[in-house]
Each structure stands twice: as C-alpha cells, then as structure tokens.
Subunit: 209 residues, 2 copies
DNA sequence: CCTACCGATCGGTAGG
DNA sequence: CCTACCGATCGGTAGG
C-alpha cells in the first residue's frame, strides 16, 4: 500500500462521506466532486468503489495491531499499568478517528464486504489474544482475580467507547455542556469515559490500587 | 398506527432486508419481491421507502417507553431490584430483536432521517430520566454511592449489549461454543452479559448484596 | 488523466 | 391492487 498524495486525498474525502452518508448512500460522483477529481479517477486509482473502501480499511488499520508489540514486552510496567495504557489508547483512538470508527461499526453491522469483515475479525482476535496475555499475567502475579470473561471484558471497553461516541449530543445536553467547544468537549468526554472504564476494570478484576 | 396484516408482513420483511443490507442497500423492489407484493404497494401502503422505515420505527418502539411505568411505582422492589429488572429486560430485548437493534444502530450512526433521529433521542432522554430516578432513589436510601455519571452508566448497559450482539461469532469461537444451536447460544450469551453488567453496576454503585 | 458514454437500476406513479 | 412506464442516477469504462 504505497499511496500518493492524490490517493490519500481521495481516501480522506471518501472517509468523510462514508461516515455521514454510508457506503451505499455515497456515490463515486459524490466522492469525485468533493475531492475535486474526475469521476474516472476512482476506478483509475482504486479499481472500484468497493476497492476504495478496502484501501481505506487497509490504510487506517495497518498500525493498529502492531502498536501493542512494544507494550507487551515492557517489563517496567505491571499488568494493571498495561491495561490502563490500552484503555487510554483505545478511547483516544476513538476520539481522534471518530469518522473511521463509525464506518467500522457500519461494516460490522452489515458484514457485506467479506474482505473487510475478515480483516476486522482478525483484528478482534489479535486484540482478544493480547488482552488475554495481560490478564493472565496479572492473574499469575496475584494482582487480578480468576474467572474473568475476556470477551465481555473487551466488549466493556469497546462498547462504552462506542456508545460515548454515538451519544455525544445526549451527554452534552444531560450535563449542560453545550457551551464547550467541540475539542474541549471531546477531551472532557475522553477523560470521563477512560476513568469510568478503568473503575469498571478495577472492580471486575478485584484490583487494589 | 393501525396496520393491517399485509402492512405488518411488509414491515417485517423490510426489517430483515434493512438489517442485513442497510436502508440504502435495499431497494423497494427487493422488499416487494421478498414480501411477494407488487412494487406499487410500498407507496400505496406507506407513502415512500423512507416513510416505510419511519413506520417500522414507530411500530417497534411504541411499547418501549411505557413498559417501565409500572416498575417505577412498584414499592415492593428496592432500587437494586429495579436496576436488575432493567438490565435483564434490555439484554433480553436486544436478543429478541437483534435485527431491529442493528437497524437502530445504523440510524444512530448516520442520523440521515431527522424524524427517526428525534424519535431515538426522545427515547434515550426518557431512558436516562428513568435511570436517574432509580439511582437517586437508591442514593437517598443509602444503598448506592453518590457521584455516579448516569449517562456513562447507561452507556455501559447499552454498549456491552450492543457489542455482545455484534461480536457473537467472536464470542462463540473464543469460548469454543460452535456446537451450540443459535437459540441455546443466544440464551447463554444473554445470561453471561446480564450477569457481567450487573456485576459492573454493583461495583460502580458500591452496592452490597 | 478527461470526455462522453454504456447498460442497469433506482424510487416512484399515472392510469386503469 | 397491478401494468407499464417515467426521469434520474447509479458504477463503471472505451477511447483518446
């Protein structure tokens, strides 16, 4: 995946449109117009609309699996510190890549594109295996209690982050935060969500700080 | 909303298609063919494809807000029992209406249909207000600790239920449950998710059973 | 990299 | 409730 500037530009334009109109609700003409390129360039650069979407997924997910390699081998952090890092990192990523996370969610619901579904499943498996490593290490070191459902634990992180993203307007209204700028609010919500999830993890793992 | 048998039939056929192909990915011809009715009947009975979707939402959500009225006034249940009821009920509803919950999620992401978005926001507000009532009652009775973020607490329930729904295949594989029938698996997952969420609520509210 | 076009399908309905 | 059709738009590309 070596993309030139124009391809990168088209991808990020398409990302915006897919996030707010959906894949089927976005035409290649919409993308071409918004990106200020000729319609034929979509096929020229990516092959088809479907392959453009696949390119977007490959581009946006390529760094995801690898970023935890270093963490796992870091001996100076205990399992709980590692969990906190993962939680902060995930919530931060959702906040920074809101558009792409919406598209991912969309693809998870429909499962229409086999290649993307497989890519997402692989990612999930890797994340689960990674989570399991940390938890088991913590259990061996008597920091965490046994008998924890790794999948539900992971769903707790991803589910709350996702709902926080989808219910931003509700959160803002409920807590009277309409005056905040978008960035300030996003930062606040990120902190709140991160802390909430850490508290839940602490409880479910019987971890005592 | 008085629907005749044919309209009910068309709605449930459309629900299936919308859930697995999305709104924009489903044509009125797809619906007409699957429901074995003439294409013109979509406009005839519902006005348009968009209004058909709105009818689906009205039909499927009309009982949602009202079902908690009785619960709130039930004096024989303490706040914790009421929370457990809400958790069980929500998870059960996600399990029973998997298709519609996918469509709801879809609409929450795109927010294209203003009427549906407003309907969903109203529902969310009501559910939040309801949750707040129970929590505050529990706090007054010294059963729950203070300083709980109601929105994040609610996101915890809806987020985990949603992720459990979207990651069924992952859960099945991770725990080696491929041999189970779909119904048996759904039931198991429902129990597991419900218990998991209750444990989290117990911890976050400092509730001692 | 663009023009000019393809066949297919879309949501919807006039008229009966 | 159905037939037969509308104009618009879709994804995609031949040919230059």
């Amino acid at each position: 995946m070596n993309l030139n500037d124009k391809q990168i530009h088209i991808l990020s334009t398409a990302e915006k449109l897919f996030a707010c109109k959906g894949f089927d609700g976005t035409s290649i003409r919409d993308i071409a117009e918004a990106a200020q390129v000729n319609i034929a360039m979509i096929s020229y650069y990516f092959g088809s609309k479907e392959k453009l979407m696949q390119s977007l997924f490959e581009e946006r997910t390529q760094h995801m699996a690898l970023r935890y390699e270093n963490l796992i081998q870091n001996e100076s952090l205990n399992p709980w510190d590692k969990l906190c890092y993962v939680i902060d990192d995930y919530v931060e990523r959702v906040k920074e890549k809101q558009r792409f996370f919406k598209i991912m969610l969309h693809e998870q619901i429909l499962e229409k594109n086999t290649l993307i579904t497989e890519l997402l499943n692989e990612l999930k498996q890797k994340n689960l295996a990674f989570m399991e490593l940390i938890i088991k290490d913590g259990q061996k070191k008597k920091l965490f209690k046994k008998g924890v459902d790794i999948v539900l634990l992971t769903n707790t992180l991803t589910g709350i982050a996702m709902q926080a993203l989808l219910n931003k307007a509700i959160y803002k209204k409920f807590h009277g935060l309409e005056a905040l700028s978008e960035e300030a609010f996003d930062k606040l919500l990120k902190e709140k969500a991160s802390n909430h999830i850490k508290n839940l993890y602490k409880a479910i793992l019987n971890y005592e700080a």
